[in-house]
C-alpha cells in the first residue's frame, strides 16, 4: 500500500471518530454550548484542556524550534507549562466560583462597566484571531504534506473541516472530541520518539535517552550533538545565551499569556466544583507534560539524525550527493518547505552555518559556497519518522496527530471568539432580549466570520506557527491576565483603573510588535528592521508581553488610587469569589 493511502486511512479514521463524537454530544442549549452543562470530571477536563491547549505550535513547531535553537529555545518549554502554575493558583478556582460563561463576563461584572466588558471582548478577539492564524498555518503544513496538495490548498481544507466541526457541538461536543484528539496526538507524538530514542540510545524513554549514551559514538548524545553542530559552524546545542533579560521576559510573557488565554480559562468553568478546578489544572499539566518532556528529546535527536543524513560519513567527510537523497527529502521538496540549491555546483548537499564569519575560512577550504539546504523548522516533527526510517503506519499516525492538535485548538478558539461575540457583545450589550436560539445562531455565524479572517491571515502568515502564536501570548499577557488577577486579588482596583490598564497594556504591546513586524502583520510596513540591534533594551517583540503586563498593573493601580473606591457590592463580590463556599454550577442567566 502506498504511503499516501496509509496517511489517508489514518487521517480519515480519526476524522470519522471526531465527527461521530461531535454528533453524539452535540449541544442543545446555550449552557451546553458554552460550558458543556458544567458537569465535566476534572481528569476528563484536564485531558480536554491539554488537547485544547496543545496546538499545532506545540505539536508541529515547538520541537523544530528547539532543534534549531537548542538551549536558547527552552523558553517555549518552560513558558508554555509554567503558566499553569499561575492559572491554578491565581485565576481558575476563583473564576469557577464566580460561575459565569465567559471571561468578559467576569471583567464586565467585577469592574461594573460595559466599557470594561467591551475592552475585554476586543482583547479576546484580537488575541484569539492571532492564535487561530498559527493553527491554520500549522494545519496547512500537515495537510499539504500528507494529502499532497499545495500549502494554500491545505489551509483551505483545514478551514473547511474546522468550520464543520466547531459549529456542530459547542463546548459539550468539543470537550469529548478533544479527549479523543488528545489520545490521538499523544500516541502520535510519543511512538516515533520511543523508536528514535531506541535507535540512537537504546533507551525506550525519550526523556532519559536524551541524557543517555549515543550508541554510535559511545559518548553522551548531547556531547555528540554539540560536536557535529560545531563542525558545521553552528552554536553548541547546549550553549548558554547572552541576552538573559530577553530570555527571562520571553518566558514570562509565555507564562502570563498562557494563564490569560480565554479559551483555556473557560475550560475550567466546565468542572462541577471549585476544588475540581484546582485538581483539573494539575491534571492538565500532567497531560501536557507527557508531550513537553518528550519534545526536547525529539528536538535533539531529530537534529542529530538530520545532520547524519546529510553527512552519512561524518561531518568531516564529503556531504551526501543530491542524487542519493532519501525519499523523504523528495516528498518534502514538493511542498516547498525544504529546498536545495547547488551553490558550488558539486552535486552534493552542503548544510552549514554560512552566517558565521569565523567559520567562513573552513567552508571555503572545503569548497563550499554557502548553505545549500533550507529546512523549514515546521516540518521537523512531521518528517521525523521518515528521517529515522520508521514504518509507514507511524508516518500516517503522525499525520493524524498533527491535524488533531491543530483542529482541537482551533475549535476551542472559535468557541471563545463566538461566545465573546454572541454572549458578551450581542446578548449583554446590543440586544439583551435575544432568544436562546438567536444567541446560538449568532454564535455560529461569528465562528464563520472568524475562520474566514484566520484563513486569509493564515495564507499570509507573519512567521513560523509557533512565533505567530507567541504574539497572541504577548497580547493575552499584557491585557487580560492583569485585569483578571487584579479583579480577584485587589478590592481597590476600580473600573477606570482596569480599563486604562488594559488599554495601555494592549496598545503598547501591539505598537511594539507592529513596529518590528509590520502594521497588522502586512509585510514591508514595519518601521524598524526586526533585528536585535534595533530592539529597545534588547527586548524582542515576542517578549514584550511581560513588559505590557507590568505597564497594565502599574497604570491600573495608579489610576484606581487617584479615583474613587469600587462600590460596596463589588467589594463583596470580590470577597465571595475568594472562598469556594456556595459556588454551585455555572449560572444560567
Amino acid at each position: 500500500m502506498s504511503q499516501f493511502a496509509i496517511n489517508l486511512i489514518f487521517v480519515g479514521a480519526s476524522f470519522a471518530l471526531y465527527i461521530g463524537i461531535a454528533i453524539w454530544a452535540r449541544a442543545g442549549s446555550t449552557k451546553e454550548f458554552y460550558v458543556a452543562g458544567g458537569g465535566v470530571n476534572p481528569i476528563t477536563n484536564g485531558m480536554a484542556t491539554a488537547a485544547d491547549w496543545m496546538s499545532a505550535a506545540s505539536f508541529i513547531s515547538m520541537a523544530g524550534l528547539i532543534a534549531a535553537g537548542g538551549y536558547a529555545n527552552s523558553t517555549f518549554l518552560m513558558g508554555w507549562t509554567g503558566g499553569y502554575v499561575l492559572l491554578a493558583m491565581l485565576l481558575a478556582p476563583y473564576l469557577r466560583k464566580f460561575g459565569k460563561f465567559t471571561v468578559p463576563d467576569f471583567i464586565g461584572d467585577r469592574f461594573y462597566s460595559r466599557g470594561a466588558r467591551l475592552t475585554a471582548v476586543i482583547c479576546l478577539i484580537v488575541m484569539s484571531v492571532t492564535y487561530v492564524i498559527g493553527q491554520m498555518t500549522g494545519a496547512g503544513v500537515a495537510f499539504s504534506r500528507f494529502l499532497e496538495v499545495s500549502s494554500s490548498a491545505g489551509i483551505w481544507i483545514a478551514a473547511a473541516i474546522v468550520f464543520l466541526y466547531a459549529v456542530f457541538g459547542g463546548m459539550k461536543g468539543i470537550t469529548y472530541t478533544q479527549v479523543a484528539q488528545y489520545v490521538v496526538l499523544i500516541i502520535a507524538y510519543t511512538i516515533p520518539a520511543v523508536f528514535i530514542s531506541l535507535q540512537l540510545t537504546g533507551n525506550p524513554i525519550p526523556m532519559f535517552g536524551m541524557f543517555g549514551t549515543h550508541i554510535d559514538s559511545g559518548q553522551p548524545l548531547l556531547v555528540t550533538l554539540n560536536e557535529v553542530v560545531r563542525d558545521l559552524g553552528f552554536r553548541d546545542y547546549t550553549a548558554d545565551v547572552d541576552n538573559k533579560l530577553n530570555m527571562v521576559l520571553f518566558t514570562l510573557s509565555l507564562m502570563i499569556g498562557t494563564a490569560g488565554l480565554p479559551h483555556v480559562i473557560i475550560r475550567f468553568f466546565t468542572v462541577p466544583k471549585v476544588a475540581d478546578a484546582r485538581w483539573s489544572a494539575g491534571w492538565t499539566l500532567v497531560f501536557i507534560a507527557l508531550l513537553y518532556l518528550t519534545a526536547p528529546a525529539v528536538a535533539s535527536m531529530a537534529r542529530l539524525n538530520l545532520i547524519t543524513t546529510v553527512f552519512p560519513e561524518g561531518t568531516s567527510a564529503p556531504a551526501l550527493a543530491y542524487e542519493d537523497r532519501p525519499e523523504w527529502v523528495k516528498t518534502w521538496e514538493q511542498t516547498g518547505l525544504l529546498r536545495w540549491e547547488d551553490k558550488n555546483g558539486d552535486g552534493r548537499i552542503q548544510m552549514y552555518n554560512d552566517a558565521n564569519a569565523a567559520f567562513a575560512p573552513t567552508a571555503e577550504a572545503r569548497g563550499w559556497a554557502g548553505n545549500e539546504l533550507t529546512v523549514n523548522n515546521d516540518i521537523l516533527v512531521l518528517a521525523n519518522p521518515e528521517i529515522a526510517n520508521l514504518p509507514g503506519w507511524v508516518i500516517g499516525l503522525i499525520a493524524a496527530g498533527g491535524i488533531a492538535a491543530a483542529l482541537s485548538t482551533a475549535a476551542g478558539l472559535l468557541l471563545a471568539i463566538s461566545s465573546a461575540i454572541s454572549h458578551d457583545l450581542i446578548k449583554s450589550i446590543i440586544n439583551p432580549n435575544i432568544s436562546e436560539k438567536g444567541e446560538m445562531l449568532a454564535a455560529r455565524i461569528s465562528m464563520a466570520g472568524a475562520i474566514l479572517l484566520a484563513t486569509y491571515l493564515g495564507l499570509n502568515p507573519p512567521g513560523f506557527a509557533a512565533q505567530v502564536v507567541a504574539l497572541a501570548f504577548g497580547i493575552a499577557a499584557a491585557s487580560l491576565f492583569p485585569a483578571l488577577m487584579m479583579g480577584i486579588f485587589s478590592k481597590r482596583v476600580n473600573s477606570k483603573g482596569a480599563i486604562a490598564g488594559m488599554l495601555v497594556g494592549l496598545i503598547s504591546t501591539l505598537l511594539y510588535i507592529f513596529t518590528y513586524l509590520g502594521w497588522f502583520f502586512i509585510g514591508g510596513t514595519n518601521m524598524l528592521p526586526n533585528t536585535p540591534d534595533n530592539w529597545l533594551f534588547g527586548i524582542s517583540p515576542l517578549s514584550f508581553g511581560a513588559v505590557g503586563a507590568m505597564l497594565n498593573f502599574a497604570v491600573a493601580y495608579a489610576v484606581s488610587l487617584s479615583t474613587e473606591e469600587p462600590p460596596q457590592e463589588i467589594q463583596d463580590l470580590v470577597e465571595s469569589v475568594r472562598t469556594p463556599k456556595g459556588a454551585g454550577a455555572a449560572l444560567d442567566h
Partner: protein, 86 residues
C-alpha cells in the same frame, strides 16, 4: 456575620501565603536554575550537559506539576479547616 468575615479574611491570608511560597519555588526553578543561575550550576554534570540545561528542558516542568498538586492538596485541606468548602 463578623466572625464569618474574620474567618474569610484569615482563610484568604493563609491562601496568599501558600501562593507566595509556591511562586518562590516556581520562579527559582525556571528563572533561577534554568536561566539566571545556570552559570553557577555549570559544574554539576547531567548526561553530557549541566544541571541548568536539565532544569530548562525537564526539571522545571516536573517541578511545576508538583507545585500545582501540592497547592491543590493544601488548599483543599484549608477549605475544610476554615469550613469554607462547597
Amino acid at each position: 456575620m463578623a466572625d464569618d468575615k474574620a474567618n474569610a479574611a484569615a482563610y484568604w491570608k493563609a491562601n496568599v501565603r501558600l501562593i507566595t511560597w509556591s511562586l518562590v519555588v516556581w520562579a527559582l526553578v525556571s528563572y533561577g536554575f534554568a536561566i539566571l543561575l545556570r552559570p553557577m550550576l555549570a559544574g554539576i554534570p547531567v548526561g553530557g550537559t549541566d544541571l541548568g540545561f536539565w532544569f530548562a528542558q525537564q526539571g522545571s516542568i516536573l517541578t511545576f506539576i508538583a507545585i500545582i498538586f501540592h497547592y491543590a492538596w493544601r488548599l483543599n485541606k484549608l477549605d475544610k479547616e476554615f469550613d469554607v468548602e462547597e
